[in-house]
């Protein structure tokens, strides 16, 4: 990454599969444009960063409830439309495979490989009771000021 690169930032606020896919396709596209790309994950968007497996960390009752009720990881996100109690995501994944589109976990891996900066919002992590150990390795932790620092220099800033 250099100082002269164009910048792109995305705030992923939503925790649905379709919206997360859109965010990561744009992020990977921007990285291919040699942009310095930041995705800032806040609120429900943080669930896309959760590890698949159960991670044992000390939590209070409310945090435990949140952890149970929210999808654990990119593979478990629901759809914003036509969710049909879980049938929707299954169908979308099938169709995506048929069309050779990358799955969300693959898109996330590709983004990390391309140097996309994945930033978890620490304030909402606290609210939802998510801890660092539960989120993917190789991500960064920051707040609104760090996001704005990137966004102020970027021409493409999206809120999804």
């Amino acid at each position: 990454m250099t100082m002269n690169n164009e910048k792109t930032t995305i705030v992923l606020f939503s925790g649905e599969l379709d919206k997360a896919i859109a965010a990561f396709i744009i992020a990977n596209g921007a990285a291919a444009y040699d942009h310095d790309v930041t995705i800032f994950f806040t609120f429900w968007g943080l669930n896309a960063l959760r590890k698949d497996e159960k991670v044992f960390v000390k939590k209070g009752f409310l945090e435990k409830m949140f952890a149970k009720m929210m999808p654990r990881g990119a593979n478990k996100l629901g759809l914003s439309k036509m969710h049909f109690g879980g049938m929707g995501p299954k169908m979308i994944k099938h169709v995506m495979k048929k069309h050779n589109a990358l799955s969300l976990p693959e898109l996330i891996e590709l983004a990390q490989e391309q140097g996309v900066k994945l930033v978890a919002c620490t304030m909402t992590m606290d609210l939802l009771g998510l801890q660092k150990e539960e989120l993917l390795d190789g991500i960064e932790y920051a707040g609104v000021a760090a996001y704005l620092g990137d966004a102020a220099d970027a021409k493409v800033n999206l809120f999804i």
Binding site: I25, A31, A32, Y33, D34, N100, A101, L110, Q114
Partner: protein
């Protein structure tokens, strides 16, 4: 048209043709030509826009039996 390297991006969906093109171009020397084969219908507009923005030159493109071919000269 002569090319120094051929990238087979056939069957790949957005954003992979662009991601692969970027990686392949990075492996070339300035002035060398990359030939890209793709089947994604958006590839023509995508590669033209990508080349323009990254400063690489889209020399030519063609379509053959549903395969889009592009020749891109590295800046």
């Amino acid at each position: 048209m002569n090319s120094d390297k051929i990238l087979d991006a056939k069957g790949l969906a957005c954003p992979m043709p662009i991601v692969r093109t970027k990686k392949s171009i990075a492996e070339l020397e300035s002035g060398q030509v990359l030939e890209v084969h793709a089947t994604d219908k958006g590839a023509k507009n995508d590669l033209a826009a990508w080349a323009k923005s990254t400063g690489n030159e889209l020399l030519s493109h063609a379509e053959e039996n549903g395969v889009y071919k592009f020749w891109i000269k590295k800046a």
